[in-house]
């Protein structure tokens, strides 16, 4: 749901530039939806206790941590495939390969960020990495764009 909301960023930018590249726009929208869904589920893994207390049925509470992790790795793979599809279809410029940094980035978040020592002691690091996903990705993209 959050992902759909944030995919408006892509739509807005497309409308702003009055783009005719609908394949690029569609791929980017799907990519954003999945990326933000992943982000939200990782948040849910982190906030397990709060959701349990409030009775919110999140993925990690329903599926369990391990199955949720497998699910997230699957989505992470799909996000990378969408990026590559855009590149091979010629919808994205070569600089899009910088977005593939999301593959190791989210793998790290999925595997290590929800571990007990991180959950207890690195709150601001968690928020930086989860809230600021694109702050990390933009430099890689810009590096390849130039």
């Amino acid at each position: 749901m959050v992902g759909i909301g944030l995919s408006f960023v892509v739509l807005y930018t497309g409308v702003y530039f009055q783009t005719t590249s609908f394949i690029a726009l569609t791929l980017l929208c799907f990519r954003t939806i999945l990326n933000e869904a992943m982000n939200t589920i990782i948040y849910d893994m982190k906030d397990l206790e709060a959701d349990r207390i409030n009775g919110v049925n999140t993925f990690p509470l329903v599926l369990g941590i391990q199955k949720t992790k497998y699910f997230l790795h699957f989505i992470n793979g799909v996000v990378a495939i969408l990026t590559l599809a855009g590149f091979f279809l010629g919808a994205f410029p070569p600089s899009c390969l910088g977005l593939l940094i999301s593959l190791p980035y989210f793998a790290f978040l999925i595997e290590y960020l929800v571990h007990e020592p991180y959950r207890k002691g690195h709150l601001l690091l968690q928020y930086t990495l989860l809230d600021g996903t694109y702050v990390v990705m933009v430099p890689f993209l810009m590096l390849l764009a130039n």
Binding site: M1, V2, I4, G5, L6, F8, V9, V10, L11, Y12, T13, G14, V15, Y16, F17, T19, S21, A24, L25, L28, T32, D47, E49, A50, I53, N54, G86, F92, P93, S95, C96, L99, L123, L124, Y127, T128, D131, G132, T133, Y134, V135, M137, V138, L141, M142, A145
Partner: protein
């Protein structure tokens, strides 16, 4: 002190705002257009404003588990409220100023997030309960 300041930055949704400004920039570059500041500014203001509102609304729920962000939200409510409203209005103004359809898209986004944040099921059940009481009388 530094932690308190950082907690305020994080609880204000500024980082999410920067991230979404980054997404606008990514979209801009991938559509192979010249980089424009407009979508970057609009999405920074809108997402920072909306996420601050979200943190204010969800603050009580998050406070169930003690953490520095939720306690900062509780302590700085008036400041965060002003920040949220002014950033959202700035985003709306910038979008409408550029073009009508862009402004409407932003209003649609805000409407979507408002629906998402509001617990529709709860409202539905409340209404259902009311109807039941009336019929039983």
């Amino acid at each position: 002190m530094m932690n308190r300041f950082l907690a305020l930055v994080f609880s204000s949704g500024t980082i999410v705002g920067l991230s979404m400004a980054g997404l606008a920039l990514v979209t801009n570059i991938l559509l192979s257009e010249p980089v424009s500041l407009h979508p970057i500014l609009v999405w920074f203001s809108i997402t920072a404003g909306l996420y601050t509102a979200n943190r204010l609304i969800e603050g009580d729920k998050d406070a169930a588990v003690d953490n520095v962000i939720s306690s900062t939200v509780a302590a700085c409510k008036p400041f965060l409220l002003v920040f949220s409203v002014s950033m959202t209005l700035l985003g709306i103004f910038l979008a409408f100023y550029e073009r009508l359809e862009l402004g409407l898209l932003i209003v649609l986004t805000i409407f979507y997030f408002a629906l998402y944040t509001t617990d529709l099921k709860k409202i539905g059940f409340k209404k259902g309960g009311g109807v039941q009481r009336i019929t039983s009388v």
